[in-house]
Amino acid sequence: MALHDDALNVSRRAFLKTVSASSVAAGVIGVGESEAQTGPAPIGPGEVSVQLSIDGQARTLKVEPRVTLLDAMRERLNLTAQKRVCDRGSCGACTVLVDGKSAYACSILAIQMQGKSIRTVASLAQGTVLHPVQQAFCDHDGLMCGFCTPGFVMSAVALLESNPSPTPAQARAALDGNICRCGTYPRVLEAVLNTKGVRRG
């Protein structure tokens, strides 16, 4: 089954909707349709230089091509806001926004992210003033241990920037790619439905 280049750069969740499970592995390895025809230039296996834009800051680092965006951020750049939990695209704790769309950072490679704008939860607050979504999570106690929280907040931001007044069903659907073990879901949902003042992205 053919994959478009675009599919490689959005979340695993998004392309699971459009491709069969057997294609996912190919997608993660990164063989696009057009490349498959022309033959891609080999990259790696050694370290390669990668330029990333994370939270508005340009970052240059050397990583092996197999390094995920999440690991590049956490272990190479010490940007630890997004968490590693399942490391295979099922729990959402690593959710970031790539050009405004939510994506699992554990399931995309750092080298795929060149030229993209990556946003993490660390970019949202202005000094000590929390982003409306973050404030709502605090007001409604939409967090406990907090390990899933950065991922939930980013999924909520992605939702509210495209749909500032979601219905409960829309909110649940938008958050369904995130798992919480402490059981904060009802209050996360309350927080998202009561967030005011998110501007369309």
Binding site: D71, N78, V121, Q134, F137, G146, F147, V153, Y185
Partner: protein, 729 residues
């Protein structure tokens, strides 16, 4: 009645004499209110540094090679190729030739390398020769005739028989008997932050950032295993991503991490991956029963005779309390631990209780059905007498009213169409007392306050209650208080397990901040020309009781300390906490009889926990416990392949956990008992959800599924069975 009390805690002194010097305030300004957790902002901004987030300068990454076999003998381990691999700085064998591995995922060897990728590559170069031995994957295989005896003393360990009353007389008095068997699955903790730590040596001193529920206990275990003084070990856990009973020490990976760091002369980070977490970091044991029980014509329980068993994996126990809560005057219960080649069990939120509750509450519904009696009325008839720690007689009707129990159909939803609705209920109890906590309080000349306590916050809100109680006692806003916890350099507090943290920590904080306030009062009293004993602290002032004008603003009072902060040490004292909770839960489900899919639509919870310190976070604890119970009822299951003994779902998609769309509407009523002092709330609310859900499913479809998780397959099978026999329950 029974010779020995079935519920030992019931009617024990459960209301303390109030503390003489620092009793809980009659009209609190903060305690019991809806207070946001103090670490909310740092967590929602991603700034909170969990152990998993600690990156030390020059730090290495540790990896553990684990046995792929559930039972094998190590013949040889060759580390030479791995030790020469790029980036590798330390390599070690965990087991020596001749040693046995008893489960898939047991630690065999380990190494540390500069990057995670190098560590992964090098791990594949370690050559281990195994002599594969016969293994036992399931309880049924262990019990089979001629099963290989893989454990030293056999695959079965029989426990003591618990007996009370006269069983024969009990069955003679019975008008109806039920003979049934129930079962619960193995469940893993799935803390989102996996087990592990970062270890760094400075000479012979070790600092370790550990994801642990016990900073002091972990320090002690590090010292013992590494043969160094406890004084040389510092354990830090400022934030942690859940533990649920599974994180009480450095564990094998912590000791390995410390040894690798020592060998490499660099910090090593070693957090488990998700698969290893499922295999080797604990689980809730399975449980199974065969029960015969009798009930008299007027609905009184007469007899209970049970054989039970379960597996806690390789060599570990599987006990659970049975019967649960309800009074069976004549009873006998025999339990057997079945050993299997699987990761050993560990305490998991309310260890044993969800199992005991499930078996008993399923049985209660079946007995009520025999009597054609309302299961709620039947339960109330057979409860122990009411006591402060045994409030079910009061709570059941309150919850029933809120839930709408009167709308329950007798059995099998008669509504046409594929969606069938049903209702069920269950009760819970827990101890939840605590003690042995020390604290240190400093009041600074600028008015800021530090409260230090070597407890830890698993995500439940411990740091928040430390700040609440300090601010309440000093009569100041919480913003002036800095609560510092999660460090073994702070005064001792015990591990956070068994709902002991709030009742252990809260009294220590109350006493310590009370002592600090007394010291400050003594400083300012002469200037005010009054006796210090007449002073109180409220609304940010220290003033004569009943006359706020005769006193000082908090900051002005603190200025009188001059250059020297005031510092006091205090500890847990009697009279501010108690033990013993009770609660009830009701669940409503919708079952699609065409697909077999069950959905929990509503849960009503009435629960007490003594004096509520923070209404907001206590409610969150209940919500979280209930969702854990929904997972237990419908989704979670650690599945081992019968042939290979391998876990087939060591991840987070096939090991199923509820997501946002699976969550019921949850109604929490917390019953405040200020006169009892603080009691823990961690365990109780997760105990009875699964039992209530399973009873609701039976009520919906008119067929009883006697084991959890209630999967679509079990629903379809139960309905087919009912069709065949032509009956309902």
């Amino acid at each position: 009645m029974a010779d020995t009390p079935q519920v030992p805690e019931v009617n024990a002194p459960s209301r303390p004499q109030p503390h003489e010097k620092y009793p809980w305030p009659a009209e609190p300004t903060l305690v019991g209110k809806r207070i946001q957790r103090v670490d909310g902002p740092i967590k929602v901004t991603g700034q909170a540094k969990y152990s998993y987030d600690i990156n030390r300068p020059g730090g290495l990454h540790g990896r553990i090679l684990r046995s792929p076999h559930p039972h094998a003998r190590i013949v040889a381990i060759d580390l030479s190729a791995a030790s020469k691999a790029p980036g590798v700085k330390a390599v070690m064998a965990v087991l020596q030739p001749g040693a046995k591995v008893m489960f898939q995922g047991e630690e065999v060897a380990a190494l540390a390398a500069a990057t995670e990728e190098q560590a992964d590559d090098a791990l594949r170069l370690i050559k281990v020769q195994y002599e594969v031995l016969p293994h036992i994957a399931t309880e049924a295989l262990a019990l089979r005739e001629g099963a290989p005896q893989v454990f030293k003393d056999g695959n079965i360990k029989a426990g003591d028989t618990e007996e009370a009353g006269d069983l024969e007389a009990g069955f003679k008095a019975a008008a109806h008997t039920v003979l049934a068997g129930y079962a619960t699955q193995v469940q893993t903790h799935v803390s989102l932050e996996t087990h592990g730590c970062v270890c760094e040596w400075d000479g012979d001193k070790l600092t370790s950032w550990v994801s642990t529920q016990a900073v002091h206990g972990t320090r002690e275990q590090f010292a013992k295993a590494l043969d160094i003084p406890q004084a040389n070990v510092r354990v830090i856990t400022e934030y942690m991503g859940g533990g649920f009973g599974s994180k009480f020490g450095p564990d094998a990976q912590g000791i390995i991490c410390a040894k690798l760091a020592k060998q490499a002369g660099a910090a090593v980070k070693l957090l488990l991956d998700r698969k290893d977490e499922h295999l080797a970091s604990g689980n809730r044991p399975s449980s199974a029963s065969k029960i015969k029980a009798g009930v008299s014509a007027d609905g009184m329980l007469t007899a209970f005779d049970a054989e039970t068993w379960g597996t806690g994996g390789a060599g570990a126990g599987s006990g659970f309390p049975l019967p649960y809560i309800y009074v069976f005057p004549n009873r006998r219960r025999k339990h057997r631990d079945i050993f299997t080649n699987a990761g050993p069990q560990r305490a998991m939120r309310a260890p044993g209780h969800p199992q005991g509750c499930f078996h008993t509450e399923m049985l209660m519904d079946e007995l009520a059905d025999k009597l054609r009696m309302d299961p709620l009325a039947f339960r109330i008839k057979n409860l122990p007498p009411e006591a402060p720690n045994a409030m079910w007689r009061k709570y059941f009707p309150i919850a029933a009213e809120r839930f709408g129990w009167s709308k329950r159909h007798v059995t099998g939803d008669p509504t046409p169409g594929p969606i069938k609705r049903g209702m069920g209920c269950a009760a819970n109890r827990w101890g939840g007392g605590g003690q042995g906590t020390k604290a240190h309080c400093e009041i600074n000349p600028d008015g800021s306050v530090v409260m230090r306590c070597g407890t830890q916050d698993l995500g439940v809100g411990t740091k928040t209650i430390v700040a609440i109680i300090t601010a309440e006692t000093l009569g100041i806003p919480m913003e002036l208080v800095r609560a510092e916890i999660g460090d073994s350099n702070y005064p001792f507090s015990g591990g956070s397990g068994g709902s002991t943290t709030a009742p252990g920590v809260s009294p220590a904080i109350r006493v310590t901040s009370g002592m600090a306030l007394d010291a400050l009062k003594a400083k300012v009293a002469p200037g005010l020309g009054v006796d210090a004993a007449t002073l109180v602290a409220s609304n940010g002032r220290i003033h004569v009781k009943g006359d706020p004008s005769k006193g000082l603003a908090w900051r002005d009072a603190c200025k009188q300390l001059g250059m020297e902060p005031l510092a006091v040490d205090g500890q847990w004292e009697r009279g501010l906490s108690a033990s013993g909770t009770s609660g009830v839960q009701f669940a409503e489900v919708e079952v699609d009889i065409e697909t077999g899919v069950s959905k929990v639509t509503r849960v009503t919870c009435v629960q007490d926990c003594g004096l509520i310190v923070d209404q907001l976070t206590a409610e969150s604890q209940c919500i979280g416990g209930i969702i854990g119970g929904v997972n237990y009822a419908l989704f979670e299951d650690r599945i081992l392949d019968r042939v290979t003994g391998h876990m087939v779902n060591p991840n987070m998609e096939w090991y199923r956990i509820a997501g946002p769309s699976d969550i019921p509407t949850i109604d929490i009523t917390l019953m405040n008992q200020p006169e009892r002092g603080v009691i823990g709330i961690g365990e109780p609310p997760t105990i009875s959800t699964a039992a209530a859900v399973a009873n609701a499913v039976a009520n919906a479809i008119g067929a009883r599924i006697r084991s959890i998780p209630i999967t679509p397959e079990k629903v379809i099978t139960a309905l087919a069975e009912r069709e065949k026999t032509g009956g309902t329950l």
